[in-house]
């Protein structure tokens, strides 16, 4: 049986990859996918901890995270589509109407 530590390590790596993606990618869709990666890293950690403690609340938590992530996708993609219609670009560096 694989130790819990290994799962956590994997989830940490995924999480950090997600953070890097958000910080360094400029395409809004990719940034958004990176956020999803972070959430899925969380799910992995939750599932691993749930098995470690033998308690189902971690699984429960993971379900909530999945559901909420779906809701975020719905709103996020809508926003991206809306901004693509007006600006014909989804590069987040070009979002600089406001400065100061």
């Amino acid at each position: 049986m694989v130790q819990t530590e290994m799962y956590i390590l994997l989830s940490a790596i995924l999480f950090v990859l997600g953070v890097m993606g958000v910080l360094f990618r400029r395409n809004a869709i990719i940034v958004f996918m990176s956020v999803e990666l972070m959430l899925n890293a969380t799910n992995l950690a939750l599932a691993a901890f749930a098995r470690h403690w033998g308690m189902e609340s971690g699984h429960l938590f993971a379900f909530f995270v999945i559901t909420v992530a779906a809701a975020e996708v719905a709103v996020g993609l809508a926003l991206i589509v809306a901004i693509f219609r007006t600006k014909h670009s989804i590069n987040i560096d070009e979002l600089h109407q406001m400065q100061g």
Partner: protein
């Protein structure tokens, strides 16, 4: 055997204020379909009615101290107080919106529905007693706000505001939820009182304590984003500037309420005994919060000076005010001060709600239909054209500075008192000195209004509803100074720390 709980075990009545808002928002979504386009104001009044109903129900829950949904939510004075603040903010927000969204041409019923959903999220956040509930409530709070920020589409500023808020908000949520997962890993539970009980059993220096440390740090990052604490504040000015102004106003108060509620629950209720060194009276997270507070105070107040747009200025001011409330959070890290610090923060949020919404109300009065008119220079000479509005704005500015005779003064002195009581003298000194700095840019608006040469803006946005919102804020700001007991007495039995000792 799994025990199936009966409905009465859920204690539904304790979450009735928030539940009623959710149900009403869902119903309003349907009802709105049958309201003709030219009479969309009806939706506003229906939404306001729901808020009033929840407020009345909530008034009966001030003396409850119990759990609902099998420990997912807590019903105590802390919850009830924050519910009242959120409902008040939303009600004033609706009053400010009614004419505004009509004149700028975004009058759609979903506006109020989304607002109500966000209110429900904030109320659940105030009640959350479990990390799962914190996360779900936070998302319920945030997602409608992302949409509302972009509600002025196809205005590019508003769309940008929405997308920026969305990306950074989702990013922050991911931090929060990962932190929650690690805390779960360290303690084996997501329930806040159970975490409290488990933390004292954790061996200092062991792997669980490291998980706990990283986990609470990540949660702090996530919540720091929500309340706009430095260094997680960079979204604030852009989002505040681009969003429709009533939404900015509501968001500045509501999102803070949610964020700080969770911060207090997690830090003061779940982790007060989380100490890295033996025999210390201070929680391990105190130094971190202390530094965050100091950085937030200094940066927020300094950058606000150079702003020329009133919405951006108020955005940095809102960052700075997050710093003052963070002072109370930091104070809560000293043994024995947590409850009093939480009460001070509650009063601060209440006072800030009236003051800040009032300031935004005046800003809306000056805003033109095309979104211009929000520069600080547009305030020049307002005392000549609209002396009443100018006087109220001056009063709100004094309150934001923390100057008597305003609610802001009482709020600040309560916070400073707790900070001193917690032994954080340098933080208190930073707090008062940055207040003086803040006096400079708040006063700048007063200078423009009263001492500037100019005819003054006619402030055509000052419709009757908006004026009522401003009067309500003015009355609240004044009354909380004259009779602060109205704001402190209803928090007198807030017990975050002691109520949970097993």
């Amino acid at each position: 055997m799994i025990q199936v709980p009966s409905l009465s075990d859920f204690n539904l009545q304790y979450t009735l204020p928030a539940l009623s808002i959710v149900v009403w928002a869902a119903a309003l979504l349907i009802i709105d379909l049958f309201i003709p386009r030219e009479r969309k104001q009806t939706t506003a009044w229906l939404a306001a009615g729901g808020l009033v109903f929840a407020f009345v129900v909530n008034a009966f829950l001030f003396n409850v101290n119990d759990e609902a949904f099998l420990g997912m939510f807590r019903a105590d004075q802390f919850t009830a107080y924050l519910n009242a603040v959120v409902l008040g903010a939303a009600f004033i927000g609706v009053l400010m919106s009614v004419d505004y969204i009509k004149r700028i041409g975004i009058e759609r019923g979903e506006y109020y529905v989304l607002l109500l959903f966000s209110v429900a999220g904030m109320m659940f956040m105030a009640a959350a007693n479990d990390l799962i509930a914190v996360f779900v409530a936070l998302e319920l709070l945030s997602i409608p706000l992302y949409v509302l920020s972009a509600f002025r589409a196809p205005d590019t500023k508003s769309e940008e505001s929405g997308l920026k808020y969305f990306i950074l908000g989702a990013f922050a949520s991911a931090f929060l939820v990962y932190g929650a997962a690690l805390i779960y890993g360290a303690t084996g539970t997501t329930n806040i009182p159970a975490i409290f009980a488990a933390v004292s059993g954790i061996e200092i220096g062991g792997s669980a304590s490291i998980l706990l440390l990283i986990g609470s740090g990540l949660m702090l990052v996530g919540l720091g984003f929500k309340v706009a604490a430095v260094p997680f504040h960079m979204w604030t000015p852009d989002v505040y500037e681009g969003a429709p102004t009533p939404i900015t106003a509501f968001m500045s108060v509501g999102a803070k309420v949610g964020g700080f509620a969770a911060m207090f629950r997690i830090l003061a209720s779940a982790l007060p005994t989380f100490i890295l060194m033996d025999a210390s009276l201070h929680a391990a997270w105190q130094t971190t919060v202390w530094i965050l507070a100091a950085a937030t105070l200094i940066l927020g107040n300094l950058v606000a000076i150079s702003q020329s747009n009133v919405k951006r200025m108020l955005a940095y001011s809102s960052i700075a005010h997050a710093g003052y409330i963070l002072m109370a959070v930091a104070a809560a890290g000293t043994a024995g001060v947590a409850d009093a610090a939480a009460r001070a923060a509650l009063f601060y949020l209440l006072a800030y709600m009236f003051t800040n919404l009032g300031a935004f109300a005046i800003a809306i009065a000056l805003e033109k239909d095309d979104g211009s008119g929000t520069n600080i220079s547009d305030f020049t000479g307002l005392a000549k054209s609209r002396p009443g509005l100018a006087a109220m704005m001056a009063f709100f500015m004094l309150s934001l500075t923390g100057f008597p005779p305003t609610a802001g003064f009482v709020a600040k002195f309560l916070i400073f008192q707790q900070t001193l009581d917690a032994g954080l003298v340098p933080l208190a000194i930073i707090g008062v000195l940055t207040s003086v700095i803040s006096g400079y840019y708040y006063l700048n608006i007063v200078v423009k209004m009263f001492l500037g040469d100019g005819e003054g803006d006619p402030a055509e946005g000052a419709t009757p509803h908006l004026r009522w919102a401003a009067y309500a804020c003015f009355a609240g700001t004044l009354i909380l100074f004259v009779l602060p007991v109205l704001g402190t007495d209803i928090a007198s039995s807030v017990h975050l720390a002691t109520a949970l000792i097993p």
